[in-house]
């Protein structure tokens, strides 16, 4: 039973007489970030709306960015509501405190948390709506609600039936139940069934509205010229040529640069091209990737801030007979969402209205309010479909939303800021460059008994509002996740993990699977090196080290079996293996690769075994694993942002290359039946692919590649 007595219940119509609304606050845990001050906005907050026209509308507290919650959260409501699936509609909820993330206390989408964090709240909302519909029917039939049942959008009593639409208005007057009993797993009809996406019809016809597609008669387009060097400032600018471009209306200075406001994108772009700006580049002009990597190498030889420690690793290493030392490095990476960033803003009558695709409504709302000089509840956010997120649309500084509000404020007209691809690739907020130096001492059986691990890379969370919660004793958890909690390290008696977090002008951010993008590469490559050093099969070696981790073992064994591990690979190919836990899910991947005459690496097949606990929509889980592998493969094979003299050397998809269809391997996904606590699924499959491929390349060529993207000498 789930008690709802302590929950705040709201039952007000969004549209008067439109039917039943159910909404409530789940008491949040000691949260990460406090909600913006002020009273809740005037809109009532609701998760499900049953209307007289038989429609059931699910309101999404999180943002749909491809991960499939548009369908997944609707399945949770529908499971308990017993409604007609074909009548389900979904909408993004407005930005309001009631939609705060149950675990984080602010409205946001990220960390592969939506499904598990909403599993109870959305089912409960569905169950409450159902109970109120049943009560309304009981009243009409003058019978006991306990004698009634529900099915496919109807309340039933013998052969009599009333549709949810017929009952919607009456149900709204019912007192919500004090508690509801959720179905047990055995009775599920929807959860766990492969279900096609609800957003497909609009996304295959061009009707789906992304932020980029927002149009209004008086909405202008703005392009902002930003400093070519991170942290640079405008010294002076000459806008005379820009202003002579047809369609350009205004040129205004904003904190991030100079904005050209025009009647359309093309005019704004030509206008921006015609700007003459004198920049003060500042200290960012010294950043150089190659030099930075050298300095990281030097830092990695010194002890950093201790992130984890047991025993005396130095001492143990000093009398080990066999030592393996390796350094792994990864570059800066842009998210390169297919939809370039954009944000439409209208400031009028003491209010700020925002149309954008964002992962961070609460932060954006607070930031917009500060800039506009109004209270957060006077900022409305109309969340549009996100043309990809991958973390880029979740900036603690609300960079692209804040900038758009600044532009609208300076221009005095409603504007939509649009980023070009060049702005995106050169715009920072990258996955940070990282270097790992690992020294391991092996015992006479080839098992690690001493492990010294030094990590160097910028902190994502330093200087953000999250620092106070997620940076402990100088260690950013996002820099060391996947190492300090590695099951391999648990069995090493003497170990130390330390961290250097250099501060640089280059803005960095979470990028699909965050710290695990580099920690899984370093850990799973090193374990593979140790297996070869010990003369053991990489699967057997891992299995021995993970003996106390049954979920890891099962994932490994499943993926290995499905991939034909131990049997000869097709001619000219070899297989590599990796297993990694992140976001509460465990994924093992076997990559099958070949190398062509130009020394190009080809990944033909990736076999994945996934333990994510309950899979709400297996069809969606499969899609997320396939997609996350593809996203990771871009970084394994191609993508890299480099800086020279503080300037980003790449600019568009011709030099910031990403995976294309001909290079997509066949990705087979085996979902392991598991009653483990539900984990995330949007990100975890990105983490192990780099090591799985590098390990396969080693098996094939005996060349150990320790830098991403992988390049054979």
């Amino acid at each position: 039973m789930i008690a709802v007595t302590r929950r705040e219940l709201l039952r007000k119509s969004l549209l008067s007489g439109a039917g039943l609304f159910v909404a409530f606050h789940v008491p949040r845990k000691a949260g990460a970030v406090s909600q913006p001050a002020g009273k809740p906005p005037p809109d009532p907050n609701a998760f499900v709306r049953v209307a007289p026209d038989e429609s059931v509308t699910v309101l999404l507290a999180h943002s749909e960015m491809g991960q499939g919650i548009w369908t997944g959260l609707a399945m949770l409501i529908a499971e308990e509501l017993d409604c007609d699936w074909s009548r389900i509609r979904v909408e993004h909820a407005p930005a309001a405190p009631v939609y705060a993330h149950p675990a984080f206390g602010m409205q946001m989408t990220g960390g592969s948390t939506t499904s598990w964090s909403e599993f109870e709240r959305y089912r409960t909302a569905g169950a409450m709506a159902r109970a109120m519909l049943v009560r309304a029917a009981a009243l009409q039939w003058k019978t006991d609600a306990k004698r009634l049942r529900t099915e496919n959008g109807f309340v039933l009593r013998g052969n009599d039936r009333l549709s949810y639409g017929q009952l919607a208005v009456a149900a709204q007057a019912q007192t919500p139940p004090k508690s509801v009993k959720l179905k047990d797993r055995k009775s599920w009809k929807i959860i766990g069934k492969p279900t096609r996406r609800l957003d497909t019809p609009e996304k295959i016809t061009g009707k789906a509205q992304f932020g980029m597609d927002v149009r209004m008669p008086d909405l202008r387009t703005a392009l902002v010229a930003r400093s070519p060097v991170f942290g640079g400032k405008v010294k002076s600018f000459d806008a005379s040529k820009a202003k002579s471009v047809k369609g350009v209306e205004q040129v205004v200075q904003v904190p991030s640069g100079v904005a050209v406001i025009a009647s359309n994108f093309w005019s704004a772009k030509l206008g921006r091209d015609a700007l003459v700006i004198d920049w003060d580049p500042g200290p960012g002009a010294n950043v150089d990737s190659a030099k930075l990597l050298e300095s990281y190498r030097a830092q990695a030889k010194t002890k950093g801030t201790v992130a984890a420690q047991q025993g005396d690793a130095e001492e143990a290493l000093s009398h080990s007979s066999k030592r393996v030392v390796a350094e792994y490095d990864v570059p800066y990476l842009a998210h390169a969402t297919m939809e370039p960033l954009n944000c439409a803003v209208r400031l009028a009558d003491g209010r700020c209205e925002i149309w954008t695709g964002t992962q961070f409504q609460t932060m954006d709302q607070a930031s917009a309010a500060r800039i506009a000089g109004i209270a957060p509840e006077n900022v409305s956010i109309h969340t549009q479909f996100l043309g990809g997120g991958f973390g880029r649309r979740a900036t603690p500084s609300s960079d692209f939303v804040s900038e758009a509000v600044q532009v609208a404020k300076a221009a005095g007209v409603p504007v939509k800021t649009v980023w070009t691809r060049e702005d995106d690739i050169r715009g920072g907020f990258y996955r940070p460059m990282f270097l790992h130096r690992i020294e391991v001492g092996l015992d006479d059986k080839g098992r690690p008994f001493a492990w010294k691990h030094t990590i160097v890379g910028q902190s994502i969370l330093a200087g953000t509002p999250f620092e106070q919660f997620m940076v402990k004793n100088g260690v950013d958890s996002a820099s060391v996740e996947g190492v300090v909690d590695s099951p391999y390290l648990e069995s090493v008696p003497a170990r130390v993990v330390t961290l250097h977090s250099p501060r640089l002008e280059v803005p960095v951010l979470w990028w699909r699977s965050v710290g695990n993008t580099h920690t899984a590469f370093a850990m799973e490559s090193m374990i593979d090196e140790l297996a070869w050093a010990a003369g053991r099969d990489p699967l057997d070696y891992r299995s021995a080290l993970l003996a106390e981790n049954p979920r890891h073992l099962r994932a490994l064994k499943t993926a290995a079996e499905k991939a034909g591990w131990g049997k000869a690979a097709p001619k000219g190919r070899a297989r590599g293996l990796a297993v990694h836990e992140s976001f509460g899910s465990i994924i093992a991947e076997v990559a099958e690769v070949s190398v062509d005459e130009h020394k190009e690496i080809h990944v033909h097949k990736v076999t994945c075994a996934v333990d994510c606990g309950t899979a709400i929509n297996p069809l969606g889980v499969e899609a997320q694993v396939q997609g996350a592998v593809a996203f990771g493969l871009s970084a394994v094979l191609q993508s890299e942002v480099t800086l020279k003299d503080g300037r980003v050397e790449q600019s568009n998809f011709h030099d910031y290359q990403v995976l294309r269809l001909p290079d997509m391997p066949e990705v087979a996904v085996q979902i392991i039946e598991s009653d483990a606590k539900m984990g995330g699924i949007g990100e975890p499959a990105t983490a192990p692919i780099s090591a799985a491929v590098a390990n396969a390349v080693y098996a094939l060529t005996k060349q150990r590649l320790r830098s991403l993207p992988l390049r054979l000498a």
Partner: protein, 153 residues
């Protein structure tokens, strides 16, 4: 100038050098065709001109002339083009932003080559980037749309 878009003659007031993409989006309000790169690298802006897949982000509108332009909005009245149906069957989409371009490339391929080999599919779809990584299901959808046509013939 006049432009034939989705079977309708439209009077368009736009500078000659404005790429067709921005005429479609900002002048005609047809936002189904997407901006992704502006240099014919990603395929999000793919439309048909006389049935050929063309990247509209680098094509000056003045170069279109009297040729017929088809956008995702004009591919079928209700999403019932065989490629769209295959996309729905295979549950291809994720974020969906690149999909109009993917679908237009696939539809042009199948119109010209009803039975493409896997290699021909790879080649025809190589110009369309999807960051969500829906490529595997795209491949399956193109194959199944082709197979369905074979059965129907």
């Amino acid at each position: 100038m006049r432009l034939n878009v989705n079977g309708t003659e439209r009077e368009v007031d736009a500078p000659d050098d404005m790429p067709l993409l921005w005429v479609l989006r900002d002048v005609l309000g047809l936002t189904g065709t997407k901006f992704g790169c502006g240099m014919a690298q990603c395929g999000a802006c793919t439309v048909h001109i006389e049935g050929q897949a063309v990247r509209s982000c680098v094509l000056p509108v003045s170069a279109v002339g009297t040729r017929m332009v088809t956008t995702i909005e004009g591919l079928s009245p209700d999403g019932s083009h065989p490629v769209q149906k295959a996309w729905a069957d295979q549950d291809v989409v994720q974020c969906g932003y690149c999909q109009p371009g993917q679908i237009m490339s696939a539809a042009a391929l199948l119109a010209q080559n009803p039975e493409p080999t896997d290699q021909e599919i790879d080649l025809a779809m190589a110009g369309n980037i999807c960051r969500c990584g829906t490529y595997q299901r795209i491949r399956e959808a193109v194959r199944s749309a082709a197979a369905k046509r074979r059965v129907e013939r």
